[in-house]
Amino acid sequence: MLSNVKSIALNGLEGILIEVQTDIGTGLPGFEIVGLPDTSVKEAKERVKLAIKNSGKEFPSKKIVINLAPADTRKEGTYYDLPIAIGLLLAQGIIRKNDLCNTAFVGELSLDGKVNSINGVLPICIEAINLGIKKIILPKANVMEASVVKNLEIVGVKNLKETIEYINGEKYIENTNIDINKLFNKQTKYNIDFSEVKGQENVKRALEIAAAGGHNCILIGSPRFAERL
């Protein structure tokens, strides 16, 4: 009862492919995560356990070992909650074997099985393509951010139950299609404007030059005009 699920870790802006290997075997019941996890990853144990229970699935009372490979890279953050849960369900056979070798999972679980948003989704998705991933399953709240990336199938999930149903083919989740151009051209309106500043033409001119050439600049003035800087 061994399973293998993929996930992605970030080292700065660089992505690393992480394999979440799960084994459920005989022995004294226990739950162990190895592969240099830090505290937030170790705590995933409790979140995953309760998320699975509260999603109406059984948490096996057996010896469970989870390895996050490569085992010499330090793992940090809550990205691995979802892949660990999926790996466990896969090893139990609750998720029927499916072709998941090109699919990566990231997401944080809450105790009721909800998939919470995580940081760094955009760099993760960009790096996923470089790592040969075709499909990524991530928190629904992060879909907008991820959808900027082309050539990657992005599936946003709300909770663990929905994820299980989706992988088993019992539920269809529509791919979010976002018009990148529309998103990009959405002009942000500023509520401040240069026309509100009266006088100070020389300063305005200097700032215009600074903006045009990307020059660093320094404004020197006495406190009487400080509020105008």
Partner: protein
């Protein structure tokens, strides 16, 4: 807040720039929910109590700091001289390299930080040095000590120095039409496009990134302009570092007017943006005052 309004006239972001900005904000966890792409240039203004780690980035697994969050945007340091000297000096490298490598026990991470530094400061501790209406009460020694907080190498990296003078009451009363940010931004965009096309083979984006070698190539001066610069150089006692700054800024002024060559008037205006050099740092006048006292 004039510096804050500077963000409204910055050139439009390209798609690649927007992607980079969003990436860094995403890692730092600063992306608002359901916000796809950040399409405006960031404006960061950390308080002067900011620590070195918060400025350059840090943590056990390094997270981006203020300089990286200001990538392709503005890092505004209000009351520059109130910052820790070490905090300011740390900006030297990033301003030059436009990226920062942070080494910690778990990992060594490089984040980009191509930002525009905008700072504001008082000319002296009491704030009135150079004011025409109010007397400055600082001793020359105090002024010098105050200004010594910014080091030469840091000042070296600041191209434009502007003195903000008081507005006359009559000007406040006048209701003549003032330019909006949008009108100014149009000109800025135009100037940036000229630069982008010119430097398409040089791997830089704007005049501020010109290296000495590239300055020689792209900021060629005519005889007349050369003479003008020479006179100014001698008369105003400008430093060598001021020389390249003046050329870069003059190049931008010429680009704003869409002229190919740098003309005398462009040089003249650029010289005007070295007030800190003339008035405060080459402090002969203060020393003279000191002797007279």
């Amino acid at each position: 807040m004039m510096a804050k309004r500077l963000a409204t006239i910055l050139p439009d972001v390209t798609f690649e720039e927007a992607l980079e900005i969003t990436k860094i904000h995403s890692i730092a966890g600063k992306l608002k929910a359901n916000r796809g792409l950040i399409t405006t240039r960031p404006f960061r203004n950390p308080h002067h109590t900011a620590t070195i780690n918060s400025i350059i980035g840090g943590g056990r697994t390094p997270k981006p700091g203020e300089i990286s969050l200001a990538h392709y945007g503005i890092l505004f340091l209000d009351e520059l001289l109130e910052f820790n000297k070490s905090t300011l000096e740390i900006l030297r490298g990033p301003l030059e390299d436009r990226e920062i490598t942070i080494s910690r026990i778990n990992s060594t991470i490089t984040y980009p930080c191509n930002f525009m530094l905008v700072a504001s400061m008082n000319p002296c501790p009491c704030g009135y040095y150079g004011d025409l209406e109010k007397q400055c009460i600082c001793t020359p020694y105090n002024i010098q000590r105050y200004l010594n907080k910014i080091s030469g190498p840091l000042l070296d990296r600041i191209d434009i120095q502007i003195e903000v003078k008081p507005v006359k009451y009559e000007k406040l009363e006048k209701v003549n039409k003032v330019e909006t940010s949008e009108e100014i931004r149009k000109r800025v965009n135009q100037a940036r496009n000229i630069q982008k096309n010119r430097y398409s083979e040089e791997n830089i984006l704007s005049n501020s990134e010109l290296t000495p070698k590239l300055i020689e190539k792209y900021c060629e001066l005519k005889e007349e302009s050369k003479n003008m610069l020479e006179v100014a150089f001698k008369k105003l006692g400008l430093s060598v570092r001021a020389y390249t700054r003046i050329l870069k800024v003059a190049r931008t002024i010429a680009d704003l007017e869409c002229t190919k060559d740098i003309e005398v008037k462009h040089i003249a205006e650029a010289i005007g943006y070295r007030s800190l050099d003339k008035k405060y740092i080459n402090r002969e006048d203060i020393n003279e005052q000191n002797i007279n006292k």
